[in-house]
C-alpha cells in the first residue's frame, strides 16, 4: 500500500494515500472539530459535503483553508489545525451558523445532546456579532405523529437528506430553495405526514441539532400515570433492553432487562409486560400463514403469492405501502407485536382484570419512531380508542427515569408481570436483523415436519450484511429465505422479486440498520456499528438464557389460544391480530 508522509501540527504522520486530513490527524491524536461530517463506517456511508466549513485547516502553500473532512493528504503536506488564521475562521464561521439559529437552548429538546451546542462550548462562543440586524431564516414547524421538524434549527448539514435518500431510498426529504433560504424539506414543504416519509427516524437519529426530534409523549405519560381512574400498563420491545443501559453510561451490549422492569414499576405502571410475548404470538400467526401459503403453493395453487414478507416493522410497512403498492398482497397480514399486544391487552387482559377498555391505557416502550405513528392508524382503533395509546422511545424512557430520580444502577433485577410478560427466546430475537425469520423458522419447522429440531440456533440467518439469504432444509423441502435491513437494501430485494430475478419463500425486512437495535428511537450510535454489534450479541445472549426458545411452546400463548383465540388464523385471531394494507402511492390527479 502506498503511503504518504506529512506533518500535522508539527507531528510527523504517515498514512495510506487517499486518507483525508481529518482521519490522518485523528490517527495521531489530533481531533479536528467537525459538524456536518458523518461517518457511518459499516453502513458504508461517509457523508462529507464540505458544507459547514468548521473542520478547515491551514495547508502550507494553499491559497485558502482546506476542509479536512474532504481533502486528501499528499506527500510533504504541512498542516496547521490551530493557527490563528484557522481559529479565527472556525470561530467566525460558527458565529455565522449560530447567527441563523434560534438561541432557545434551555427549552430545546436536543439541549445537552446537541452537536451545535457542544461546538459553541468548545469554541468558546460568547456573543454573536451584529445579531441585532441579522435576519433569520424561518420556516413553519411541522408536527407529524412521530417526528417534529423545526427547520429554524436546521444548519444544512444535510445528514438527514443522505439517510433518507442514499441509505433508506425513501426520498421524502431534499434540499430546497437556494442560498439563505435553502433548507431540507419534503416536496412543496408539505407536512411530513402527507409525504412518502416512513417515520423510520433515521433522520432524527443523525440530526446534529434540534431541527429533527421525536414527538415526546413523556408529559402525557406522567399525567396518565397520576390519574387514579386509569390503569396504565406497559410493554417493552426486545431491542430496548439491549440499549437502554447506554443512556446510563453502561457499556454497549449490557442487558438491563431486570432493571428496566424495576424502573417501570417504580414509575408507577400497574403492570409491566413484554412485547416479546406478543412477538411469540406473531410467530404463531405469521408462521401459520407461511405454512399455509407454502403448502398450498406446493399443492399447485396458483392463487398463492410467495414470498411472504414479514410485517412487524412499521417503517417497512409504510415503505411498501407508498413505494411498492403493486405488491400489497405479499406481506403477511399479521399485525406487528406492538399492535397484537395492544389488541390482546384491551380485550383478553382487560376482561381478566375487569377494567373497561377506555380506562386501560397501553403504553409501549419502543426503539422506534414509526411505532408512534403505527398506533395512531385507524385499523388499530376500536370506536376511536386505540389498542396502543401511545409509544415512547428508548431515549424518552431513559429521560423519564432520570427525571424521576431513579438511580438506575442500584435497581434490583425484577421480573415481568404475568400473563403478558412471559416470553421465549424466539420473541427476544425480534430485536435484531434476521431474528423474526429465525423465530418463525423455529416454529414453522416443527409444525411442518412435526419433529423436534435439534438446534434452535439458525446461524445461517444471522449476521450484519445488508442483504443476506439462506436456504433451510425442512426435511427435504428447501425453504429459501431472504433478509434485508435498511430500506435501501429492502428496495433492492423487492425490485429483484418484482422483476422475477429472485425466488424466495419468505423474507424478513427491517427498516433500520441492524434491525430494531439500530432503530430511530434508540440511544444515538452515531453510525458506530461496533455498538450495534454489541447490542446484537446481547439479544442473542438473552435468547440463549431463556428456558423456552420456541414461540409455540410459550405456555401463556398456548393458554391464550385455549381461553380466548381458538387457534392461529381463527376468525377471532383474524379480527384481532391481522390487518390490511393501504395503497399510499401519490395519486396523480386528473379527470
Amino acid at each position: 500500500m502506498k503511503t504518504v508522509k506529512l506533518t500535522i501540527d508539527q507531528k510527523p504522520v504517515e498514512v495510506a494515500a487517499g486518507t483525508t486530513i481529518l482521519k490522518a490527524a485523528h490517527s495521531v491524536g489530533i481531533d479536528i472539530p467537525t459538524l456536518c461530517y458523518m461517518n457511518l463506517g459499516d453502513l458504508k456511508i461517509e457523508h462529507k459535503p464540505g458544507g459547514c466549513r468548521i473542520c478547515v485547516v491551514e495547508v502550507q502553500g494553499r491559497r485558502n483553508l482546506a476542509p479536512s473532512c474532504a481533502t486528501e493528504v499528499s506527500d510533504g503536506m504541512v498542516i496547521n489545525t490551530h493557527s490563528i488564521r484557522v481559529l479565527n475562521a472556525r470561530k467566525t464561521v460558527l458565529e455565522l451558523i449560530l447567527s441563523d439559529h434560534p438561541k432557545d437552548c434551555l427549552t430545546c429538546a436536543k439541549s445537552g445532546n446537541c452537536d451545535l451546542q457542544s461546538m459553541a462550548i468548545k469554541l468558546g462562543i460568547r456573543e454573536i456579532p451584529n445579531q441585532d440586524i441579522a435576519e433569520m431564516s424561518t420556516y413553519r414547524t411541522d408536527f407529524s405523529p412521530a417526528i417534529i421538524r423545526e427547520m429554524n434549527k436546521c444548519i444544512m448539514c444535510r445528514r438527514c437528506e443522505t439517510m433518507c435518500n442514499e441509505f433508506q431510498t425513501v426520498g421524502a426529504l431534499s434540499a430546497i430553495n437556494r442560498g439563505f433560504m435553502s433548507v431540507v424539506a419534503p416536496a412543496f414543504e408539505m407536512d411530513l405526514e402527507d409525504s412518502v416519509c416512513t417515520y423510520c427516524g433515521q433522520c432524527v437519529a443523525v440530526c446534529p441539532t434540534g431541527a429533527l426530534t421525536e414527538v415526546d409523549h413523556t408529559n402525557r405519560l406522567i399525567r396518565d400515570l397520576s390519574n387514579p381512574n386509569k390503569t396504565v400498563i406497559v410493554q417493552t420491545a426486545p431491542a430496548v433492553r439491549a440499549a437502554l443501559g447506554e443512556m446510563f453510561d453502561l457499556e454497549p451490549g449490557t442487558l438491563v432487562t431486570g432493571k428496566m422492569v424495576a424502573a417501570l414499576r417504580r414509575l408507577g405502571f400497574k403492570y409491566v409486560f413484554d412485547t416479546d410475548f406478543a412477538a411469540d404470538l406473531t410467530i404463531l400467526e405469521e408462521g401459520t400463514e407461511l405454512l399455509d401459503r407454502l403448502t398450498r403453493h406446493l399443492k399447485g395453487d396458483k392463487t398463492v403469492k410467495l414470498p411472504i414478507l414479514t410485517s412487524c416493522c412499521p417503517g417497512w410497512v409504510n415503505f411498501f405501502e407508498s413505494q411498492f403498492s403493486d405488491m400489497l398482497d405479499i406481506p403477511s397480514t399479521a399485525r406487528s407485536p406492538q399492535q397484537m399486544f395492544g389488541s390482546v391487552a384491551k380485550t383478553y387482559f382487560a376482561d381478566k382484570i375487569k377494567v373497561k377498555r377506555e380506562d386501560l391505557i397501553v403504553v409501549s416502550i419502543m426503539p422506534c419512531l414509526a411505532k408512534k405513528y403505527e398506533c395512531t392508524r385507524d385499523e388499530f382503533k376500536v370506536n376511536g380508542n386505540p389498542d396502543v395509546d401511545y409509544s415512547i422511545s428508548t431515549r424518552e424512557l431513559a429521560n423519564l427515569i432520570k427525571q424521576a430520580n431513579i438511580d438506575f444502577h442500584s435497581l434490583p433485577d425484577e421480573e415481568f408481570d404475568l400473563p403478558l410478560g412471559e416470553s421465549t427466546g424466539a420473541g427476544v430475537i425480534f430485536g435484531t436483523t434476521g431474528g423474526v425469520i429465525e423465530a418463525a423458522v423455529r416454529t414453522a419447522y416443527e409444525l411442518y415436519t412435526k419433529k423436534k429440531i435439534d438446534s434452535v440456533d439458525f446461524k445461517a440467518l444471522r449476521g450484519i450484511d445488508g442483504i443476506r439469504e439462506a436456504t433451510i432444509d425442512f426435511e427435504g423441502l428447501p425453504v429459501k429465505i431472504g433478509i434485508a435491513h435498511g430500506l435501501g437494501n429492502a428496495r433492492k430485494l423487492l425490485e429483484d422479486i418484482r422483476s422475477g430475478k429472485s425466488q424466495y419463500h419468505a423474507i424478513e425486512i427491517m427498516a433500520c440498520p441492524g434491525g430494531c437495535i439500530g432503530g430511530g428511537g434508540q440511544p444515538l450510535h452515531h453510525g458506530n456499528f461496533e455498538i450495534l454489534k454489541k447490542r446484537m450479541e446481547a439479544i442473542y445472549r438473552e435468547d440463549k438464557n431463556k428456558p423456552i426458545r420456541k414461540s409455540h411452546e410459550n405456555p401463556y400463548i398456548i393458554k391464550l389460544y385455549e381461553e380466548f383465540l381458538g387457534k392461529p388464523m381463527s376468525e377471532k385471531a383474524h379480527k384481532l391480530l391481522h390487518t390490511h394494507y393501504v395503497d399510499r402511492r401519490k395519486k396523480i390527479i386528473y379527470i
Binding site: K48, P49, G50, G51, C52, R53, V56, N64, L65, P67, A70, T71, E72, R85, N88, A89, T92, V93, L96, I97, S99, D100, P129, N130, I133, A134, E135, I155, M156, A175, N177, R178, G179, F180, M181, S182
Partner: protein, 597 residues
C-alpha cells in the same frame, strides 16, 4: 454562391434587436425583392457588432459602409439609394460619437482601432446561419488539419505553447486542462462548453454564439479529438433563445457537412454535440455545479478533487471550457502558437473580450490584446466618461471581481496584474463608475447579487454574504459604526478563506477592494454620516439656503409630509426630523435654494 452577392448585415445583438433590427431585416429583404435585386443582394441578421450605443447598425459589406441608428422605415431609402443608385444615405452614416464626423468604413471607427479580434473575428462579419460563410473564412480548416496532420498530443502541445488560458474567470491554462482529461483512462469522455454566462453586464459568450457558432463547434471537436471524447455538450442559458437557435442551426449544418458525426474528415474520429439548458443559477458557471446541473440535479458545487478531468459528467472525464476560450482555438491551430503568444503579456497571451458598461460613452463589446491599459480601454476605446463626469472606479470581473481606481489606470491588463491589484479578470465585465456612484452602495449591490445567487450549500457563503449585506445596509442607512468596517473586512476575508467554491471565495472581493481603495468613503459614512456621492438617502440632509430662498412657498406645498415651514416671502426651513428625503422640494424650487448635504 452567397459570397458573390452584395451583403447587407443587420446587427442582431440584443441591444440592436430590442430596437427592431428584426423588422429592419425584414423590410430590407422585402425591399430587395420589390426592387428585383434578389440575385445580387441579400440581407443577413448577424451577431453583435459591438457598437451598441449607436444601434441598430446596418453594414453594407462590399463598400464597408456603416449605418447607425437605423429605423425600419429607413430600409427603403437604403436599398433604393445605396444599392440601386449607388449613393450612400448620408444622414444615416455612422458618426464618431465624440467628433460627430462621418466615419468611413470599419477602419475609421475609433473603437475598432485598438482592437484585435480573434474570438470575435467573424462576429458581425459573416452570416452566422451560413456554414458556407464560416468555411469561406477558413472555418473547419483547423479541425481538418488536426485530424489529418496532427496527433492529439501535438495538438495539445500547440495549445499549451500558445499560452491560452481559460476565459471564463479562473484563467487555468487550457492546454494543461486538455492534457489532464487526455491522461484519464475511461471508456467515455465528454467535452463541455460552458455557455452559462451569468455575470451581470457581460455578454461576450452570447455574442460569439449568436455571431459565430461554428467556431465553438469546431473547437469542441478539436478538444474532443485531443482528449479522446466523442460527445460534446453545450450548457447554455435558457435566457439566450437566439444563441440557442443559432447553435441548433449550426450543429445541424455541421452534421450535414460531415463535420460532426461519425468518421469526420474520413478519419476514425467521431464527435457530436448536444445542448443542455441552464435555468437561471449563476453558481452553475462553476464547473462542478454545472456538471450537476447537466445531470438534472440542483446546481450545487462539490469539492475538488476529483476534478472534472478525472470524474466529471456522469462520473466520466470531462473537459469544461467556456465559449470564448473555445473560439480562440481554431485560429491558434491555423496560425500557430507563435502568432498567438506574440500577442499579450508574459503570462497572459492573446486577447480578451470585455463588455464595457456603466458610465461610459461607448458601451459594447470589445476585444483587445492582453496588456492594454485600463486607460486605453476606458478613455480611448470607450470614449471616456459619460456627461464629462469624473472617473471614479471600474469594476472588473463582475460580482466576483474588485474595483480599480485612478491609480490602476496604467497597469497592463492581464490575469495576474488584475489579481495583484485586488480584482480579477472574470469573464470580462467592465463596469465604469463615476463620481455619482457611492462605493458602499455599489458593494451592497454586488452583494445582493451574491446573496441571491449563493446556492446555500456552505455556511460562509450562505450566511456570511447575507451578514455582509446587512452590515452594508446598516451603513447606508446611517447606523454604521467604525467597528462595522473592521467586521466587514474580517468577515469578508473569512468567507474568501473558507467557502466551498469560487462564488463564495470571491464574493467579498467587491466590498473588500472598495474598502481598500475608498476607505475614507466608508469612514465618512460611519463617522460623519455622509454619502458624498449623494446616493445613500438616509445620509442626505435637505436644507434651504437662506440667501437663495425667496419665500415662494412652492417647496412647502410640494412637501408630502409637511416638513417645510415658513411664511410667504420669508425664508423657509426644512425640519430634518420629518423630512423623508423624497426630493420633491428640490425639484420644485426654481431658485436653487434647496440643497443636499
Amino acid at each position: 454562391m452567397l459570397e458573390s452577392k452584395i451583403q447587407i448585415l443587420v446587427c442582431g445583438g440584443t441591444g440592436c434587436s430590442s430596437k427592431a433590427s428584426h423588422s429592419i431585416t425584414e423590410t430590407i429583404k422585402n425591399e430587395i425583392k420589390a426592387q428585383g435585386l434578389t440575385d445580387i443582394a441579400e440581407v443577413v441578421l448577424t451577431g453583435c457588432f459591438g457598437l451598441c450605443e449607436m444601434g441598430p447598425i446596418v453594414r453594407v459589406i462590399h463598400d464597408d459602409t456603416y449605418y447607425a441608428k437605423v429605423r425600419p422605415e429607413d430600409a427603403r431609402e437604403i436599398v433604393e439609394e445605396h444599392l440601386v443608385k449607388g449613393k450612400k444615405v448620408q444622414r444615416l452614416l455612422f458618426r464618431d460619437p465624440k467628433t460627430k464626423e462621418i466615419v468611413a468604413g470599419s477602419k475609421g471607427i475609433n473603437r475598432y482601432k485598438k482592437q484585435v479580434r480573434i474570438a470575435l473575428r467573424n462576429c458581425g462579419v459573416i452570416n452566422p446561419e451560413s456554414i458556407n460563410e464560416y468555411i469561406a473564412r477558413n472555418g473547419y480548416e483547423a479541425l481538418g488539419k488536426v485530424l489529418t496532420e496532427m496527433d492529439p498530443q501535438q495538438t495539445i502541445d500547440v495549445i499549451k505553447k500558445s499560452g491560452l488560458r481559460g476565459r471564463g474567470g479562473g484563467g487555468f491554462p487550457t492546454g494543461i486542462k486538455w492534457e489532464l482529461t487526455a491522461a484519464s483512462k475511461s471508456d467515455k469522455k465528454f467535452v463541455v462548453c460552458n455557455a452559462d454566462e451569468g455575470d451581470p453586464g457581460a455578454f461576450m459568450d452570447r455574442s460569439i454564439l449568436e455571431g459565430d457558432p461554428h467556431s465553438v463547434i469546431e473547437a469542441m471537436a478539436i478538444c474532443g479529438y485531443c482528449t479522446g471524447a466523442d460527445s460534446g455538450l453545450v450548457y447554455i442559458r435558457a435566457e439566450y433563445p437566439l444563441a440557442i437557435e443559432r447553435l441548433k442551426i449550426a450543429i445541424k449544418q455541421a452534421r450535414e457537412y460531415g463535420l460532426l458525426g461519425k468518421n469526420i474528415f474520413g478519419t476514425d474520429f467521431s464527435f457530436d454535440i448536444e445542448l443542455r439548458y441552464g435555468a437561471g443559477a449563476f453558481v452553475c458557471g462553476e464547473e462542478t455545479a454545472l456538471i450537476h446541473s447537466m445531470e438534472g440535479k440542483r446546481g450545487e458545487p462539490t469539492m475538488k478533487p476529483p476534478f472534472p478531468s478525472v470524474a466529471g459528467y456522469l462520473g466520466k472525464p470531462t473537459t469544461v471550457n467556456n465559449v470564448e476560450t473555445f473560439a480562440n482555438v481554431p485560429p491558434i491551430i491555423l496560425k500557430g502558437h507563435e502568432w498567438f503568444s506574440s500577442i499579450g503579456t508574459e503570462k497572459s497571451k492573446g486577447t480578451k473580450v470585455f463588455a464595457l458598461a456603466g458610465k461610459i460613452n461607448n458601451v459594447g463589446l470589445i476585444e483587445v490584446p492582453m496588456g492594454i491599459t485600463l486607460r486605453e480601454v476606458i478613455f480611448e476605446i470607450g470614449g471616456g466618461i459619460k456627461g464629462g463626469k469624473k472617473f471614479k472606479a471600474v469594476q472588473t470581473g463582475g460580482p466576483s471581481g474588485g474595483c480599480l481606481t485612478e491609480k490602476h489606470l496604467d497597469i497592463p491588463i492581464d490575469y495576474d496584474n488584475l489579481i495583484a491589484a485586488g480584482s480579477m479578470m472574470g469573464s470580462g465585465g467592465m463596469i465604469v463608475m463615476d463620481e455619482d456612484d457611492c462605493m458602499v452602495d455599489m458593494a451592497k449591490f454586488f452583494l445582493e447579487f451574491t446573496v441571491d445567487e449563493s446556492c446555500g450549500k456552505c455556511a460562509p457563503c450562505r450566511v456570511g454574504n447575507k451578514r455582509l449585506f446587512e452590515l452594508l445596509e446598516k451603513i447606508t442607512q446611517g447606523n454604521g459604526i467604525k467597528e462595522d468596517i473592521d467586521r466587514l473586512i474580517n468577515l469578508g476575508n473569512v468567507i474568501k478563506d473558507t467557502s466551498l467554491c469560487g462564488l463564495g471565495q470571491s464574493s467579498p472581493n467587491p466590498v473588500l477592494s472598495m474598502i481598500n481603495n475608498f476607505y475614507h468613503e466608508y469612514e465618512s459614512h460611519v463617522v460623519d454620516k455622509k454619502c458624498h456621492a449623494g446616493v445613500c438617502k438616509a445620509l442626505m440632509v435637505y436644507q434651504i439656503v437662506p440667501e437663495n430662498c425667496v419665500g415662494c412657498t412652492a417647496c412647502a406645498r410640494a412637501c408630502p409630509v409637511g416638513a417645510i415651514t415658513g411664511e410667504r416671502k420669508e425664508v423657509h426651513v426644512i425640519d430634518t426630523k420629518l423630512c423623508i428625503k423624497c426630493g420633491a422640494c428640490m425639484e420644485r424650487c426654481k431658485f436653487n435654494a434647496v440643497i443636499v448635504n
